[in-house]
């Protein structure tokens, strides 16, 4: 289980040169904060949803190479996608990460099947570089932090639109 499995080149690249860093004015953009209570990493996702499309998205906060590169790749992956498409990417990514975490759920087998099905739905592309994180369980929460935050952002954007 070498470090190279964790720190793939593309991850280090996104860490060194994060994409879509910055802020959006909020409102109109939705601003959501995420914390990793274990290590103190903080992510801020600024989300501009227009006509059901993720029109713009910026990332703030600070954290380790895994959380930062995951956020950067996430931004690249969902920007311009429709909300349902973005949600499908989130599901697929979290399914990839859950292959280890599901141990914590009682229904391990069901969960594994469900995860496989959700991953099949979407092409994760570059994001697959983060698959190695699964072998370092403590770091999974680093990788999923921005995704959980985005999910919350989409919920809030939906609620804002509905309300």
């Amino acid at each position: 289980m070498g470090l190279e499995d964790l720190y793939r080149e593309i991850i280090l690249d996104h860490y060194r040169s994060p994409r879509n860093r910055g802020e959006l004015e909020s409102p109109p953009a939705v601003r959501v904060e995420g914390y990793n209570p274990l290590c103190g990493d903080e992510i801020v996702v600024y989300l501009d949803v227009q006509d059901g499309v993720v029109a713009d998205l910026k990332i703030g906060g600070q954290g380790c190479s895994i959380s930062q590169s995951s956020a950067s790749m996430m931004a690249a992956a969902v920007k311009g996608k429709t909300v349902p498409e973005a949600r499908a990417v989130i599901r697929a990514f979290k399914a990839m990460m859950s292959i280890h975490e599901q141990r914590l759920d009682a229904d391990g087998d069901d969960a594994a099947e469900k995860a496989a099905a959700e991953m099949a739905e979407v092409k994760l592309g570059d994001l697959e570089a983060l698959q190695g994180v699964v072998r370092f369980p403590v770091r999974i929460k680093c990788a999923t932090l921005s995704w959980n935050t985005l999910q919350q952002g989409l919920d809030e954007a939906g609620a804002a639109q509905a309300g």
Binding site: P37, L38, C39, R103, L104, A106, P137, V138
Partner: protein, 410 residues
């Protein structure tokens, strides 16, 4: 599957210890605390010798491994009691803390002055005092399901008692009488009345196959040291919706998501209720205890205890007749392996003292159930209780030692 007690006994190092009188240890106090098999001691020692580090926060190898061991123990314990997701399993220091957690966190959020809580007359102090404290602090009303003269709870007034109560807290098995209570029936009645159901499983989980769903519990508490596990570990299971809606209990590290100088945000389950460094080695030990019991099979454990309790009830009746009063239900199938008794007019304290000369360990006292003692009209009982390592020879040793006691005091 039946229990091979002779083989089981070999797994418990303390049973080999030399006794002052030269005899063997006849340990009949497992209702107070059980002995530990070698595998539990080994699991803890191995943990300390190879893996110890603080959990949940460390990136490095042994910290990750320690975290994995602890969370695996949580999974195991959850499966052992038929729990759903593992985040419903919360580790505390003993069964008492678990019940205090519910009384405090659920109670303070949901109970107001005048609200009623229903308990029973046979509860252990652990399931009485936390509610008595809420009575003092919040002014809640406490009601009690009475004990019938047959050693069972008297449910004839249950509908009236349950009417309007917000919470029902009941032991699944009495630590004094051995009585198995009709938890499911009480839970269904309580739920129909809109109440939340807390089950004290301290005496139940170690001895009977346990499924929190089948019992109808909303919360279920038990303690590691009575279940072949180490001291310093208790388990609270609770339903996700209830746990999520509760404020935290103790505050500190692990249980927070964020802390500012003017406030804090709690962590997610189960850590929200696990403040500070948890009893890590103890969870590992408890996991090994659960493994041990599952290898024996909880059905076999229960069958063995029913059989042994039957033997004990018959033997004691045959040998001591009217000189002995045995409290609790008379049918072994309706009770656990806990036999509280009075013998002649010898005080339980004196009985226990004299039995000790023969290496026979029984408890004497009120067994942390003073209201039950008052209900029975006595101050104390002597209590012999069984577990997987006890057999008929232990019952015989008890009876022989009782003869010696009688001789001594006559």
């Amino acid at each position: 599957m039946t229990l091979d007690v002779a083989r089981v006994q070999k797994d418990f190092p303390i049973l080999d210890r030399a006794m002052p009188g030269g005899g063997r240890l006849v340990y009949l106090d497992s209702a107070a605390s059980s002995q530990k098999p070698q595998s539990v001691l080994d699991a803890m020692t191995r943990y300390y010798e190879t893996t110890h580090a603080n959990v949940h926060r460390g990136v490095y190898g042994i910290a990750e491994e320690a975290t994995r061991l602890m969370e695996e123990a949580r999974d195991k314990v959850g499966r052992f009691i038929g729990a759903g997701p593992s985040h419903e399993v919360i580790f505390a220091k003993n069964g008492t803390e678990c019940l205090n957690l519910v009384a405090n966190a659920w109670g303070r959020a949901n109970l107001r002055s005048g609200d009623a809580v229903l308990l029973t007359e046979i509860e252990h102090h652990a399931n009485l005092v936390p509610w008595l404290m809420l009575r003092e602090q919040l002014g809640v009303e406490l009601r009690y399901i009475p004990l019938g003269d047959d050693g069972h709870l008297d449910l004839s007034e249950l509908d009236r008692l349950v009417d309007g109560v917000k919470l029902v807290a009941v032991t699944a098995m009495s630590n004094v009488l051995g009585t198995l209570t009709p938890v499911r029936l009480i839970a269904d009645t309580a739920h129909a009345a809109g109440a939340v159901v807390v089950v004290d499983g301290a005496q139940y989980a170690p001895h009977l196959p346990t499924n929190v769903g089948d019992l109808g519990a909303d919360f279920f508490a038990f303690t590691g040291h009575k279940l072949l596990g180490p001291t310093g570990i208790g388990v609270l299971w609770g339903k996700t919706e209830l746990l999520e809606a509760m404020p935290p209990f103790l505050g500190g590290g692990e249980m927070i998501r964020d802390v500012r100088l003017d406030g804090f945000t709690p962590n997610e389950l189960p850590w929200k209720f696990e403040a500070g460094t948890p009893p890590i080695a103890e969870t590992v030990g408890l996991g090994a205890a659960v493994d041990y019991l599952e290898a024996l099979g909880m059905d076999a454990v229960r069958a063995h205890e029913v059989e042994l309790t039957g033997y004990a009830l018959r033997t004691l009746a045959a040998r001591f007749g009217p000189d002995m009063t045995i409290y609790g239900p008379t049918e072994p199938a309706e009770r656990g392996g806990v036999i509280s008794f009075a013998y002649k007019d010898i005080h339980p304290h004196d009985i226990s003292q004299v039995l000790d000369q023969s290496g026979v360990c029984v408890r004497a006292g009120h067994h942390c159930a003073k209201p039950l003692m008052r209900r029975l009209g006595i101050g104390a009982t002597a209590r012999a209780s069984f577990y997987v390592y006890n057999d008929e020879s232990d019952v015989d040793a008890l009876a022989d030692a009782l003869d010696a006691t009688s001789a001594f005091f006559s």
